[in-house]
Amino acid sequence: MSEEGKELFEKVKEKVDRLKENTLEKQFSDFWKMACYAKYRSYEKPLQYADSVNDYIEKNKEELTQMREKFVQNIDSYVETCIKRLEKKKFRVYYAKTNEEAHEIFLKELGDNKILYKSKSNQAKDLGLIDLCKENNIEIKETDLGDVLVQLFDYKLPSYQVGPGVHFKVEDIVAKIKEKYGVELIPEPAEIVKYFRNTYRKELLNDVKVSLTSANAIAAEEGCVVLLENEGNISLITRATEKHIVAVGITKLVPTVFDALLVTKMVERTNNADLAYISLIYGPSGTSDVAGTAVKGMYGAKEVVVILVDDWRTKAIHENLFYKELVNCISCKTCNFVCTASRAFGNVYASKYGLGALAIIKDYIHNGIEAAVADGLFLCTGCENCSNWCPAGVNLADIMRQLKKEATEKDICPPYLKEYKDKIFRDKNPFQ
């Protein structure tokens, strides 16, 4: 067993041990267990709709899977079509081969602006834009209330992607608001929401120069950015802004706007979320009301910039890499709620890209197998729940299996597992 393997195992063990004490990890884990338990059971029940989530998945999985496969087989031509169509619609479009290229474009588009208003975006993490902003002293102002709370608490650990600050206690939030803004609030969720509505909403309506969102999907054939939300923050920062930047991996592309709606509906249903808005953005705002002359930038965004990033994606497809199915992912996060390890270990089984197996695989892609092992790769039980539940048919379990094999080949799998394996091959019985 290599020294590196032992060290990585100790790191994971230390992280797991933190769940036994009164730590931030424990606080998150307590919430996450409750959330997963409720979520897991809710998939069987008709809640906001006449059918259950599982019925909805069953009914639409094949169409979604076939659509994603069609896209993947023709990814190059869809990217080309998408760029042409978006340009026709007056978007400013960039295609970045790597995250680094995307960073250059992003900084150029930001110009002298040092404040960036941002919606919730896992893509921004995946593309390295969060780290880039930190390095360049660009202040990120989160607009999703969950992320606003995460910033308020300066919470550095991975969090629940759909409701990033939902694990904070009401009393603690009120105390933080008093500490930071000197305002005393009644410890009620509605009071906290009212406070941010009365204060932050004005800023979002009047002060935003540059905003950043990802997209739930971009319809290549129509040139349309589709965004799903429930708070209205995306609606505000994509309209009441000078410049709206959309930064996404090219796997957010889908053929048509109907396909995009299928993706957003699936994300909505699998999250059982109370989502209020779907935005279909076809370009910057404009008017021809003055003498019939088209002028861009009426009440909505003056410029809409789309940065399409390839990085690992077409390489995975063209070189048939073992994680290529990841390009079919629609980021619904169902795999988190049903994952045996995620449910038990919360944000200890995670990476800087988020919770669970998906985030660990992303860490592998960007930072290598050692990073994945340190994230807790070997806490995965191999139950295949992630694959069985995935509405887009991604075999995440198989990707995790390949990662474990790679780690074992590099002699960095945990010592106890190596011992297990050796007993099987040497003694022909692991329990003797």
């Binding site: 045996t340 038990a344 070997f378 039980t381 139950c383 069985n388 474990k404 094999k405 091959f425 022909k428």
Partner: protein
């Protein structure tokens, strides 16, 4: 021509009584099935750790052992062995043609259900059945069989859990993680007990049983529902004994 009862390392090392019960059922259904001395481990626990070369080498070794003993048919009582024998052996050994079945498949054959003719005398008992990952994820998934068997038993009523079949909760005992970290199991196995209003929880996987039993034994969990191995439950019914006490 050998019809082999392949008990699996975990059951034969730790659950001798269950092995006896399984053999009793199998021999009742087909007395040509036999056990052999010191069968090697199928290799199931290494499938996500070892390289294809290592796996192939082990699988070849075990297959030679099967050949040496002229094995033509296998019935196993282990979910892991079933999953592994019916997938990796075909993958690595061209022409591997030993018929591999789990005990549940053998029992669920219509003629065997008739032959077993299981009846529980006394007050009706409700039970839950936990779908083990190794059975539901196998190349030929075992999902319907336990239901057919339980529904055929007079006096026994199967109460389905909310998350079941292909989408059941994992007990947390897989992947070798359980030997060091019990957190997976502490949470997930307990969640399994909370689903379905049966008086007993049945499982056909020795790994799930190990994890579930540990949760049941911990008094802090306040689990009143006993977890019972499928084979033990069936034999008690065959013997006319209360199957859940």
């Amino acid at each position: 021509m050998t019809k082999l009862i392949y008990l699996g390392c975990l059951s034969s090392s730790k659950y001798k009584e269950t092995c006896e019960n399984a053999m009793k059922i199998i021999k009742f259904l087909d007395d040509k099935f036999v056990t052999l001395e010191n069968p090697p481990c199928c290799g199931a626990l290494s499938y996500h750790l070892a390289s294809d070369e290592e796996l192939k080498s082990h699988v070849t070794f075990v297959n030679e052992w099967f050949k040496e003993h002229e094995v033509t048919e296998i019935v196993t009582i282990c979910a892991g062995c079933y999953n592994y024998l019916s997938h990796y052996y075909k993958k690595f050994i061209p022409g591997f043609n030993i018929k591999v079945r789990h005990l549940l498949q053998l029992m669920a054959q219509p003629d065997n259900i008739l032959k077993l003719n299981l009846k529980h005398q006394g007050k009706k008992i409700t039970v839950n059945y936990h779908d083990a990952c190794h059975l539901r994820n196998a190349d030929i998934p075992i999902i319907e069989e336990p239901r057919k068997i339980l529904n055929s038993i007079e006096g026994i009523q199967l109460k389905e859990m909310e998350n079941r079949e292909k989408l059941s909760i994992c007990c947390g005992a897989g992947g070798g993680v359980y030997s060091i970290f019990k957190e997976n199991s502490d949470y997930n196995a307990l969640a399994i007990f909370k689903q379905g209003k049966g008086r007993a929880l049945l499982t056909a996987c020795p790994f799930c049983y190990t994890a579930l039993k540990r949760i049941q034994n911990n008094k802090e969990n306040k689990v009143k529902k006993p977890v019972i191995k499928f084979e033990d439950f069936i034999v008690k019914i065959m013997d006319g004994v209360d199957p859940i006490n």
